[in-house]
């Protein structure tokens, strides 16, 4: 039952919980330009469906190997892409550290994103898990990798902004 008992580093867990809150606010506020800052310069952001992960396949919906690719994504969404006008609302729960070694923390969290269209109708858009590798830089946690593992492998409509 990993994550229970005195073993867990409560300060690190607190910082990681706070980072997840800030991450959710960043996306829900549509401050996409701040989003890459949650990652290391060579941090990875991956979206993969559980179906592909369980089958041992890549099948990444988005595959970003570094922060530059994340900045490109934001630029493209701002200047190039047309996508559905909407508001996202992140519910991130069960944030926990499930492993730690050499200053690298393995963390997991469950998420649900509720999406609301321009006329104010809300629907569950995506549910799944964040599987993270986190390191601390000057006391602040950064993602070495955030893998968004989709339960909702069947995307309804389109997926423009990061999860």
């Amino acid at each position: 039952m990993s994550g229970i008992g005195p073993g867990v580093d409560r300060d690190a867990l607190f910082a990681i919980e706070q980072m997840n809150k800030a991450y959710a606010r960043c996306l829900d506020d549509d401050r996409l330009e701040d989003w890459p800052d949650f990652f290391l310069e060579d941090g990875r952001y991956l979206i993969q469906s559980r179906e592909n992960r369980d089958a041992g396949l890549y099948g990444y919906i988005l595959y970003f190997e570094n922060r530059a690719m994340m900045r490109d994504r934001v630029t493209s969404l701002r200047v190039a892409n047309y996508y559905n006008l909407h508001t996202d609302r992140h519910l991130i729960a069960n944030v926990d550290i499930v492993g730690a070694a050499d200053g690298v923390y393995d963390a997991r969290a469950n998420y649900a994103v509720i999406q609301t269209d321009a006329e104010g109708r809300s629907e569950l858009f995506s549910a799944g898990e964040y599987v993270d590798r986190i390191v601390f830089v000057e006391g602040a946690p950064k993602f070495a990798e955030r893998l968004v593992l989709l339960d909702t492998s069947n995307i309804v409509g389109l997926l423009a902004v990061p999860l």
């Binding site: 988005l62 530059a68 047309y82």
Partner: protein, 421 residues
């Protein structure tokens, strides 16, 4: 002929499905085609269960005997299996006894299949091989002499494969697959699959629009530079100097080809990470992009080193699922690496794809109730509907050809007096 007269909306209509095409001709497409439940049912009968070949999967997905994968042909659940002898088999995933789902997993390997409800068992061809209590139990009951389990099976499809791409049909009237595909698509498939491929993943995509809006979109030259601003915004030179569309099967298939621009030595994208749009193409014949629509349910997309083949699954007049199989060349590590980057362009989140889903959903949302019997306008490059080939991008003739063929297959009355009537 069904064994009984079902309650059939279509029956209430004339043989033409009650729809007469707009008098203006094939350059008009009634919005009703995208909203009518009757047309949705009629498509399932005439297209997906009719004399057409439907894409079922890739041979590389089921290399070994017993390997199977599941899909849908229109509304019908289908299983594709490789049998003991290595032959391809396909059957409806519905028990011959009382209709339960027999194959429960999306894909796997099995010696045979057993239905959970009463444990009828089947071989890899979907033939009944075991029936519990067949001869009764404790001397009582069981099936009588008139029952011959060999007469029962899950409904089979005709199966055929070309260059490793597997198709199936419910109809004995469908022409041989080679003739159905036609020479141009046959050659393209042979060329592309001349090297071994590996499946890199699957993607499911639900689009809240009629499936034909996206099938039409996939051959629509016109929208590419207008809707997809990604290339332009990042100064990516599009290799579009030579483009071609080749039609077949009454215009309902379409082979789009865009050749590389030799002047473009290297990409000068303003992307911080240019690998996303790099065009070191792995395709033969100097092809940069090729999009192959094989009516009614298949869409093959070939760009750079990122390939995908899609199966369309209509769920309702205003909703369908597209299931992608991503693949690339297995014999070239560079391809595998490149396609991870390039795939960011495609699928539900793709830089040059997300807009297609957005726009067809927004069309659907704007044509409720058939939009007062309105229609869309497909009049660029004249009103011709019979080209077998177009050698430039500035045309909607390939769309008109598709609609004319679609109307014929659906048995709709042609425009009365209009052009191409």
């Amino acid at each position: 002929m069904p064994a009984f007269t079902a309650i059939d909306h279509a029956a209430a209509e004339s043989n033409t499905g009650g729809l007469v095409w707009p008098a203006e001709g094939w350059s008009r497409v009634p919005f009703e085609l995208f909203t009518s439940p009757e047309i949705h049912e009629r498509e399932d009968e005439r297209l997906f269960r009719g004399p057409h070949w439907n894409y079922l999967g890739l041979e590389v997905e089921i290399p070994q005997p017993g390997d199977y994968t599941t899909c849908h042909v229109g509304a019908t659940p289908v299983v594709l299996v490789r049998d003991e002898g290595g032959a391809l088999r396909a059957f409806v995933n519905r028990c011959a006894h009382r209709g339960a789902e027999v194959v429960r997993r999306l894909r796997g390997n099995a010696r045979g299949f057993t239905c959970i409800y009463h444990n009828w068992s089947y071989d890899r061809a979907g033939r009944v091989v075991g029936v519990p209590w067949e001869k009764g139990r404790g001397g009582a009951g069981g099936y009588d002499a008139a029952f011959d389990k060999a007469q029962h099976r899950m409904r089979p499809l005709r199966v055929a494969s070309w260059a490793g791409v597997v198709f199936g049909t419910f109809s004995s009237d469908a022409p041989p697959l080679e003739d159905y595909l036609g020479p141009a698509i046959r050659e393209r498939l042979s060329a592309v699959f001349a090297r071994p491929v590996t499946v890199t993943g699957y993607q499911r995509h639900t689009i809240r629009a009629n499936w034909k809006l996206l099938y039409e979109n996939s051959r629509d030259f016109y929208h590419a530079p207008q809707l997809h601003k990604f290339f332009g915004a990042f100064g990516i030179v599009q290799p579009d100097q030579a483009a071609r569309a080749e039609m077949w099967h009454e215009g309902t298939h379409c082979l789009l080809t865009i050749y590389r621009n030799p002047e473009v030595r290297k990409q000068r994208a303003k992307l911080e990470e240019p690998r996303v749009a790099a065009f070191r193409t792995a395709l033969p014949e100097n092809i940069a992009i090729s999009i192959v629509g094989i009516f009614p349910n298949c869409l093959l997309t070939l760009i750079g080193s990122a390939f995908s083949i899609r199966q369309f699954r209509p769920k309702a007049p205003d909703r369908f699922e597209a299931v992608y199989t991503y693949f690339t060349y297995a014999d070239d590590p560079d391809c595998l690496r490149e396609h991870l980057f390039q795939n960011n362009q495609f699928g539900p989140a793709g830089y040059v794809a997300m807009e297609d889903a957005e726009v067809v959903e927004k069309i659907q949302a704007r044509i409720a109730l058939g939009a007062d019997k309105g229609s869309s306008l497909v009049a660029m490059d004249g009103t011709d509907t019979t080209p077998e080939r177009i050698d430039h991008m500035v045309s909607e003739a390939n769309l008109r050809a598709m609609w004319k063929g679609y109307a014929r297959f659906m048995g709709f009355a042609p425009p009365d007096g209009g052009p191409d009537g």
